[in-house]
Homo-oligomer: 217 residues x 2
């Protein structure tokens, strides 16, 4: 038991030292549950009640929204140091999630139970700031999605998507299929293949089987 807390404390110091005040780190270590997820695991699903929110220690989590049919659209990613701000609201409201959170790769995180979270809002300034910041970041990303959808054509959106993937995956070679991209854009594989081809012809990427090499950064 002591060992568990010490381990969490170490993790928190590694990844959240600048974010949370000391007493809060201790509280998180005491109340948090260490959890891991494998690639493709679903952390939070649409329509399911949220009982814990994750603090991500490392790995990449994809947040998406679907329309209850087979459609799905990528909203944004969460990384080390992030939390799922939106599940926080769900917690407060005991309401169902509007999102799906899927592990893009192996994830380590600390799960925090709902009830404690509101207490901390009162007790810890760094916690308030953390939550508000999360909102700020997520809202900006949502706005950015809206802007992309409303103002840009697929070609430009696709290129930004690839550049973004490069950033998150820390590699210019993306191991991804056209079909997977099509799912993120709620369109068909043929459409994506076509646009990828023109991006290649413009020298922005190089195509390979199951692999896209992006020529930047």
């Amino acid at each position: 038991m002591k060992k568990r807390i010490a381990f969490l404390k170490e993790q928190l110091h590694l990844h959240f030292d600048a974010v949370f005040e000391k007493p809060l780190i201790n509280e998180i270590a005491k109340n948090g549950i260490y959890a891991t997820y494998e690639k493709k695991d679903i952390l939070i699903d649409i329509g399911v009640e949220t009982t814990h929110i994750p603090l991500i220690i490392n790995g990449l989590v994809k947040i998406s929204r679907d329309d209850s049919h087979d459609h799905e659209i990528l909203l944004y990613y969460l990384e080390e140091g992030d939390t799922c701000a939106i599940s926080f609201i769900n917690c407060i409201h005991r309401s169902k999630s509007m999102f799906r959170a899927t592990a893009e790769e192996k994830i380590e995180c600390i799960m925090l139970p709902v009830n404690i979270i509101e207490e901390w809002m009162v007790k810890y300034k760094t916690w308030r700031v953390f939550i508000i910041d999360s909102y700020h970041n997520r809202l900006e990303e949502m706005l950015s999605v809206i802007k992309e959808l409303a103002f840009f054509k697929l070609e430009s959106r696709l290129y930004k998507y690839l550049a973004n993937q490069v950033k998150f995956k820390h590699s210019n070679d993306l191991l991804i299929t056209h079909q997977e991209i099509a799912n993120d854009f709620n369109t068909s594989r043929v459409v994506i293949s076509r646009i990828l081809k023109t991006l290649e012809q413009n020298g922005k990427i190089k195509l390979d089987r199951r692999k896209i090499h992006v020529e930047i950064s």
Copy 2:
């Protein structure tokens, strides 16, 4: 001075009685500034620092986003009892607004200065709930916008838009031009006229000069 506070208190009791606890209402009355805006006035503009956030007593405020060119897209509306949750974040961060808030009709509101707002987060539970609720509602609307943009065609989006306008304007006769609608959708007038025509042919609306009659609710 006493009179001003009494007036605000009365307004708050009228519109926020169920929302805020008594001592908070008193504080708001003490610190708030009563303000009115005329149709087309801009309450908050993109890129401008936010120093106050509005509590809306009555009237309709339109929240939109542009892409720094002439493009603009409607995000959602605020009504009586709403606040601009997002300007709240801007306050905390002393950052610039990502939104434009425009009066759609005559507005009455109470403006609250930034600095007080964080204090209240600690002191008043109803304030915390109010802020979190605002976020919740706005996020849902943003998500809804994304869903619309990603999954639906213009015809369906336009019809929902009209139905929504009916709800907010409390009338089935909308005094609006095709060009104005086109602006909200970031598209051209011709496109909107075309779709309105087919909606009329399907008996869903009736078109008139500067007026659209919506056949529902």
